[in-house]
Symmetry: C2
Subunit: 222 residues, 2 copies
């Protein structure tokens, strides 16, 4: 294992995003569909997570690696008080909501905080088990951020994805931190992360490396 190293604290109440990205810049593979939102080969971006002790422990499983990757997994949910996600990440297809669709994660989703879902279609909030509530926001990303900040209190707001949602927050100058998990696979096609984001100034403030993944935390400089 390559030892971890860090520079500088995360500012309080930051707007953060962490996301796995291929070496050629994709966060999902080609031919995404409602059934396969991650695209062909896209799961290769996430296998490092499943190998960690931290992730397995969260699932009630034994074993797994205790590595820099595991340390990263342990940290990802720490200090997050609310999430924002695009509609595709919540699922349920396009157009007006089918109220029977309650997300991909079952009755006890892994968020345990308020989650704000960007949508063009109104829907009543959905309270789930374990502290997760889904609130559907149809008046824009700034409104969603304002509501998420209020819901998060002094904790951070995390942009959960997908790429289009991250792009909008980054392009609008609303993201404080981008934590990339750079996975050494070449997908060749799919959904790129860093398109339509303008020319942000990014400063690497922390690098953690394992034989599987290079994790680089970038501060978005204003």
């Amino acid at each position: 294992m390559i030892p971890s190293s860090r520079r500088g604290p995360t500012p309080m109440n930051s707007v953060t995003c962490h996301i796995s990205i291929s070496l050629d810049g994709y966060v999902a593979g080609p031919h995404q569909s409602i059934e396969n939102s991650i695209g062909e080969g896209g799961m290769r971006l996430h296998e490092w997570v499943f190998a960690t002790h931290g992730w397995r422990a969260q699932q009630g499983l034994e074993g797994g690696e205790s590595s820099a990757d595991s340390e990263v997994v342990d940290r990802l949910t720490q200090g997050v008080g609310a999430y924002i996600m695009g509609r595709n990440m919540f699922g349920g297809g396009h157009g007006p909501w089918d109220p029977s669709w309650r997300g991909w994660w079952g009755e006890n989703p892994p968020y345990h905080t308020p989650v704000f879902v960007l949508t063009h279609h109104q829907r009543e909030p959905l309270a789930m088990e374990g502290g997760t509530t889904f609130t559907f926001v149809n008046d824009g990303i700034e409104s969603a951020l304002q509501q998420a900040r209020a819901g998060a209190g002094e904790s951070d707001v995390a942009i959960a994805g997908g790429a289009g949602t991250v792009q909008q927050y980054l392009a609008r100058g609303l993201l404080d931190e981008l934590f990339l998990h750079i996975v050494p696979v070449v997908l060749g096609a799919g959904e790129r992360l860093l398109e339509n984001v303008g020319d942000p100034t990014l400063e690497p403030v922390e690098v953690m490396a394992s034989p599987a993944v290079t994790h680089v935390r970038y501060r978005v400089v204003r």
Copy 2:
């Protein structure tokens, strides 16, 4: 400075490539031309080099930073016994050679080894000052590699660029190591490195990080 860390030695007589790459995967900016082969904004990928003590010392200049970046610069030419480059990197336009064109670097180029230039047009070898000789190879990349290996002896062969040349060696399974200098700028357009390379298996074997750049050395796994 983030401390450097390393895992595993470079194999002897490797075929290596080091190249600066933007966070969105470009190794040159848009609107490349014969006059501006690096493209618009492309120089931003290389500014980290000019800031180092190591580069300045090579130019006979004082000062500069002694950082992980400087350590990387010092290492880049160590152990390299021959270079291979595409014709655009040597310059002089397209078509049959104008013998008055002797490269971008003056009479004493910074290579100080044999350099093999890929071309479709015959040209006699060109011996420069300081140990650099340019040999023009017009029978393919494998021939160039064979000649470069012979010229390098027990030292490494470095693919100097540009992107198309790196892509060909990587796609053909002839590259042993890819050392990426990941620069946190978003160019938005330009020449991508990791296109048309198939699906190589890359293993991060060393990570060195500075506040400016994250350097990741990948072994290409056979």
